[in-house]
């Protein structure tokens, strides 16, 4: 808070005090206003909040003590400094007991007043920061939103609710991009461990030796380059949650150490002898077939069973197209704020296309597609032409609700788009002649897009 951002209200029935103090604070760059009595002060308070209040304790009508109570009813964090004469120090002490920041006696020592005001401004700044930080902490511990209306997503939410407040190890299975990390965050945020860290380790992103040092930490000189002692993620996660992503990729040595650490909640740093205790909860995720890996001997069976206590399996997006409209709208809302673009929604045709797409990259791919389309689009609603989807990934099968005619229409359209609307190539693939294609296009009202 800059000095000019600090607002001071001086309430005193003596004009000389009001004017002198106001001009003195103004010279220091504070924003100052004055009031001759409590009524005027409360009227001013009704219009705006002040950071620091200087209140004369003895005023006609409502006195400074009562005014202090009224101000604190409106703004609990307001900083109040009582102005008093020597004769009324007792009352000033009473004011301090009731929450005044300090009191000053008339006449003021300029040095003391200057210091007091600076401290008061600092205190106010800290109170405001504290409120803001509490707010952000609240938002940090608020579970992330899991979007979707499908039965499957409702079940996932139920599973999260059930397991969150236990210490059970959770395994999240699902294809890449389905939101395994989001589920892990939701479990952590709904658990009693939410005020301790959620430590994420992507086991697939680092080599096995590095992973060991990453998980367990190392002592100084444990290996070449270990210049300092370093805490491992297991130690950092003390009191919180350890999220091991791509657990299927870890090597056999690390598997043994990890199993021991999970079971005993004790481990040693690399190159060290000291046993370290850490109270962490394990959530892991994988998109690989762990059962197959166990069969092949690539993944230890004992670790597999230790991790496979409570499984949450997230279906790929293509198996729950009902979630796509809500996800699309969620991403539009997210990016319209970020991009400051007044995009309202998505065109029905475009949405239909998205619902039929195979989404090999799942929600992550959908999000990227929406973001890209929002960059490109010039309309208020995202159009089909704004998407550049990989047509070879288009669903070979169709929604069970489509009629034969609709299937034919969509299929012709897909093949045409795949061949950049080259009628001859499309006709060859479809096994019909060019004239038939033209007839069908006319029949289904399909028009060649302008951009092709």
């Amino acid at each position: 808070m800059k000095i000019s951002d600090t607002k001071i209200l001086i309430v005193d029935d003596e004009q000389i005090v009001r004017e002198s103090l106001a001009s003195w604070f103004e010279e220091d760059g504070y924003f100052v206003d004055t009031a001759k009595d409590a009524v005027e002060a409360l009227n001013k308070l009704a219009k705006t909040r002040w950071d620091i209040y200087f209140l004369d304790i003895k005023m006609p009508g409502m006195d400074g003590l009562e005014l202090q109570r009224r101000i604190h009813e409106i703004d609990k964090e307001a900083i109040i400094i009582i102005i008093t004469a020597y004769a009324s120090v007792d009352t000033a002490v009473q004011a301090l007991k009731e929450g005044a920041f300090d009191y000053v006696t008339k006449p003021f020592d300029p040095d003391a007043l200057s210091r007091l005001t600076r401290n008061a401004a600092k205190q106010r700044k800290l109170s405001i920061e504290n409120i803001e930080l509490k707010g952000s902490l609240e938002s940090l511990t608020t579970p992330p939103e899991i979007i979707g209306v499908s039965q499957h997503i409702q079940e996932i939410k139920e599973l999260i609710n059930t397991v969150a407040n236990t210490n059970t190890t959770v395994m999240i299975r699902g294809e890449s991009g389905t939101g395994k990390e989001l589920v892990a965050q939701a479990i952590h945020a709904q658990s009693s461990r939410r005020f301790s860290p959620l430590v994420e380790v992507n086991c697939g992103a680092i080599s096995d030796t590095l992973l060991e040092s990453e998980l367990f930490g190392h002592e100084k000189g444990a290996f070449t380059g270990a210049l300092y002692r370093r805490k491992g993620k297991l130690e950092i996660a003390n009191g919180g949650t350890l999220f091991l992503d791509e657990i299927g990729t870890i090597g056999s040595k690390t598997q043994i150490d990890l199993l021991r650490a999970i079971e005993s909640k004790e481990f040693t740093r690399l190159g060290g002898n000291e046993k370290i205790k850490s109270d962490f909860r394990v959530i892991c995720a994988t998109n690989t077939n762990l059962e197959e890996a166990v069969k092949q001997g690539g993944f230890r069976e004992d670790l597999y069973y230790r991790l496979q206590v409570y499984v949450i399996h997230i279906k790929p997006l293509r198996e729950r197209p009902d979630d796509i409209p809500e996800l699309v709208q969620y991403f539009i809302n997210k990016y319209k704020v970020k991009m400051n673009k007044p995009i309202e929604g998505i065109d029905t045709e475009a949405l239909k296309m998205l619902m039929q797409y195979s989404w090999k990259g799942n929600v992550r791919e959908l999000e990227n597609a929406i973001e890209r389309a929002m960059v490109i689009t010039q309309e208020r609603k995202i159009q089909k032409k704004d998407f550049l989807l990989n047509q070879s990934q288009q669903l070979p099968s169709f929604n069970n609700q489509l009629s034969l005619t609709e299937v034919e229409k969509v299929h012709i359209l897909n093949v045409l788009e795949q061949n950049q609307w080259n009628i001859s190539s499309a006709a060859k693939i479809l096994g019909i002649d060019r004239v038939t294609i033209y007839k069908k296009l006319k029949k289904y009202g399909i028009k060649r897009p302008q951009h092709v």
């Binding site: 000095i3 000389i16 005090v17 002198s20 103090l21 001009s23 003195w24 103004e26 010279e27 220091d28 760059g29 008339k106 006449p107 003021f108 020592d109 300029p110 040095d111 007043l113 200057s114």
Partner: protein
């Protein structure tokens, strides 16, 4: 053409004042002069506080002075809300006042130091001139317009304006046309 008049009122260190005058001209880039005034300051003495009312002294000369005037005195000054003031000047006013009473080392029980006193008096004169030029206190700790409520704080700052205050003071004084 603007001008600064230094007015000694119950101030017997005329040699000090003369040596300061040239510095004032150098820093403010305005011509300056020393002019006496027959104002009897005893009428501003408050017997209860044993001090002189700086505000009333300024008010007494306000209508009279057309140039920028800084009064210099060796008596202890106060304004009703404060226990003391080193000096006083109204923002954009024409008259300022500086007291050497609390600028002297002997006030703090220390041996006299004339060069330090000269520096302090000069800084206070330039500071009050800054207020007359419409400047508020500056957040740069070494700018002469930094607020100082103790002699130590006066010693920390320089006798010069920071760049921003220098520009502002020049513009404001030119606009005042006094």
């Amino acid at each position: 053409m603007s001008k600064i008049i230094l007015v000694p009122l119950q101030f017997d260190r005329l040699a000090l004042l003369k040596s300061i005058q040239s510095e004032v001209t150098k820093i403010t880039q305005l011509p300056s002069s020393i002019e006496n005034h027959d104002l009897n300051i005893d009428i501003f003495f408050d017997s209860q506080r044993g001090q002189y009312d700086a505000l009333r002294m300024i008010q007494a000369l306000e209508g009279e002075k057309t140039f920028l005037s800084i009064l210099l005195t060796n008596v202890d000054l106060f304004i009703p809300i404060f226990t003391f003031v080193f000096g006083l000047a109204k923002l954009n006013g024409n008259i300022g006042i500086v007291s050497t009473y609390r600028l002297e080392n002997k006030f703090y029980g220390l041996p006299d130091n004339n060069s330090l006193l000269k520096e302090r008096v000069l800084k206070e004169i330039i500071h009050e001139y800054g207020h007359l030029a419409g400047l508020r206190h500056c957040s740069q700790f070494n700018c002469v317009m930094a607020s100082s409520t103790s002699a130590d704080e006066i010693d920390i700052k320089l006798q010069y304006f920071c760049d921003a205050c220098q520009i502002k003071s020049k513009i404001n004084i030119a606009a005042k046309g006094v």
